[in-house]
Point group: C2
Chain length 418, copies 2
């Protein structure tokens, strides 16, 4: 009745397999769109951005005061100020018509352009205006003090953002700053989700006794969105080889999805059906059957038609953990981006009890994080991986590495927050 998982792979092996068997270059090359930068937050750039000109493009004051030749202030103090001649006032946004000669200054507001001959701005706080044409300067200032040089923000030809960058608010700001209001980005990958299991009914239905509602379509759909993809909900499917094969082929063709997730089928019979269906899809077929992760061991990965197809465990907790390990980074790669698992939000906490773990597998422990007397604690939430409520109560996950046999109470752990 039972077949053992034929070979359990480590998470790193799965990642390597994915990278080796997918032609990401081909996928990304064909998935580029041009959009307004206003809708480009967290998207991945499909072009390199080079500064077309200097920014700000002129020497700009960052203070209210007087544009001055710094040399004219040298040695000035409260007791012995320099007396300088006011020859005019800078208007915002306009190129000054005058030139500063030795002993001359002009009034300048924050953001104003320095006139020719000026190389610094004396803050108004360090001056006193004597009459319409004369000001006392009471400090010595250095050349270029209180000035943003014309190329200080960006220099013509400088690379600002690289292809594959994930755009943050400030990156969008710099694009606006150079007038690049439309950019090429990679399309969000569409990912199809199927749930299997003859006991599963749609969430909107009323389960008869023995049936349960589909949870995984919803959690995985939300995970796809959070990772930057577009979920294509394909509903619940009966555990039949030909049907599964046909539905997967159909969604790849008609919905143009870049990957497929099938969740469910933790029973051996169903797993065999999924395996057979995935192997019929094309070369190279099933690559992974079983990973050394708990919860999440009965995971399947196949690749066909340059698309990964994942068979995730039916237990909601296991499915989310496996998603996070493999599909989360995949969604970045499909958009030409890198993915750095470690750069995501983590917090250090102290473990509140001993945790055992088998060597040779990665354990992911759900924890509740709380603060007490200014210290942060992580309290494991025990419970079977079929219980979605354990994830709802949890603040995050801690990982016990492959070669670690457990953690002691009081250990410092890194919690990956949800």
């Amino acid at each position: 009745m039972v077949k053992p998982l034929f070979k359990v792979n480590t998470p790193n092996e799965v990642i390597t397999m994915l990278k080796n068997h997918l032609n990401l270059k081909e996928i990304t090359r064909n998935n580029i769109e041009e959009v307004d930068i206003k809708i480009s937050l967290h998207r991945f750039l499909a072009e390199e951005i080079v500064a077309p000109a200097n920014l700000p493009g002129f020497n700009r004051s960052i203070m209210d005061g007087y544009a001055i030749r710094a040399e004219d202030s040298f040695g000035a103090t409260d007791a012995l100020p320099s007396y300088l001649k006011i020859i005019g006032e800078i208007k915002m946004g306009v190129k000054p018509k005058f030139k500063i000669n030795p002993g001359e200054v002009v009034k300048i507001p924050t953001g104003g352009m320095l006139p020719e001959g000026a190389n610094a701005v004396m803050m108004v706080e360090y001056t006193e205006q004597i009459d319409d044409a004369t000001v006392e300067a009471r400090r010595s200032i250095s050349p270029w003090e209180n000035v943003v040089r014309e190329d200080e923000d960006l220099k013509t030809g400088e690379i600002i953002l690289r292809k594959g960058s994930r755009l943050r608010s400030q990156d969008i700001g710099v694009l606006a700053g150079i007038g690049k209001i439309n950019i090429k980005i990679y399309k969000k990958p569409k990912i199809a989700i199927f749930s299997t299991g003859n006991e599963i009914i749609p969430a909107e239905g009323e389960p008869r006794i023995g049936q349960i509602r589909d949870i995984n379509s919803y959690t995985l759909g939300a995970c796809i969105k959070e990772a930057g993809g577009i979920p294509v909900y394909r509903g619940i499917i009966k555990d039949e080889v030909i049907l599964l094969e046909q539905k997967i082929k159909k969604t790849i063709k008609e919905d143009e999805v870049e990957a497929v997730i099938i969740s469910g089928g933790s029973s051996v019979g169903v797993r065999d059906i999924t395996l057979e269906a995935l192997d019929r899809l094309g070369k190279p077929g099933v690559l992974i059957h079983g990973v050394s992760v708990k919860p999440g061991k009965p995971t399947i990965l196949a690749i066909a038609d340059n698309r990964p197809i994942f068979g995730l465990p039916g237990h909601p907790v296991s499915a989310m953990i496996i998603f996070d390990l493999f599909i989360n980074p995949l969604i970045s790669w499909l958009q030409g981006g890198e993915y750095n698992y470690n750069s995501t939000k983590e917090i250090e906490a102290e473990l509140t009890c001993n945790m055992v773990s088998d060597s040779g597998r990665e354990d992911y422990i759900r924890v509740f994080v709380y603060e007490k007397n200014k210290k942060i604690y992580a309290e494991p939430i025990l419970g079977k991986s079929g219980l979605i409520s354990t994830m709802v109560r949890a603040s995050g996950l801690i990982k016990i590495g492959l070669n670690i046999e457990g953690l002691e109470k009081g250990s410092k752990v890194m919690v990956r927050l949800f």
Copy 2:
């Protein structure tokens, strides 16, 4: 020419002022919408969710094997197995018609419902089927082993999610699990953005010398989106009191925004104009003028018509830092949620050089984070707060608290990642 900032407030005072002068209850009460849970990720719940029934609602096997009375396995070993009578097989999703009597078992797949009389599942690995009607059980198992009890995930009447919770993937999963596919959430707050400054031109324009493109509308718009709000771009506005007053009133009325951000106007003349315009909007008017934050000191906060109006500094870096301190949490409160600054993504790093800071103000230092020999370092990025490129090069910010006069090279710092 210059007026000093009349009273500089600490960031905590600003937060308190916001909370005291805004009637958040009234705002949230009127901003509720009902949506499909599929589009509710990261939104804030406007209702309490209670389990309407037990989940899974029946005793469910988590293994392939035999549903059994645990008592019938007591004492069983490889050498001395129990012989049990197979009386049938459980079908997925169907309530079993039979009842288990002492000495009897039924075959059960993962996810199947336990029949009456059974209180455990013996894994198939620990059995051997002798003939159609007989199986050897080779382990002693405890009552309820390998079973999810009918109310183990959720109990009828249990509070699952509280009002004001920010929905994560697993929260959406649990809602699906109880069949709650439409929920009440708070609307995303709309926030208007104006840029001021006579030297500022639209990003799509070609600046003449002395002019620069509008960066803040784009960075702040993206920050609003990232925080969960909807930016309403209102463009660039001339520095005139009546015009500013009218435009703000118009966006509050016509766009139904919950808050207004005006950025720019770091020069004293423009700041005075903004102050006067904000004070004309209504009671209580301008509450804050100047905060003890660097960069970001010349920040204005007014409240009128139960809406906060922020005057942010014109320098892009300052504007982003002040946004993060005050408007980021505000966007959560406007949706009935809490905001925990500390729960956002942070990473510990070692500072690569000494940093000085004045006591009595919070300093935010832009840093580049890198890894070397398995250690994480934070390298300060120096540069004026007018330079957007410094934010583009930065990975995050470190804070030097109000009463700290600096940090030494090698100090451990927490970096708030972008």
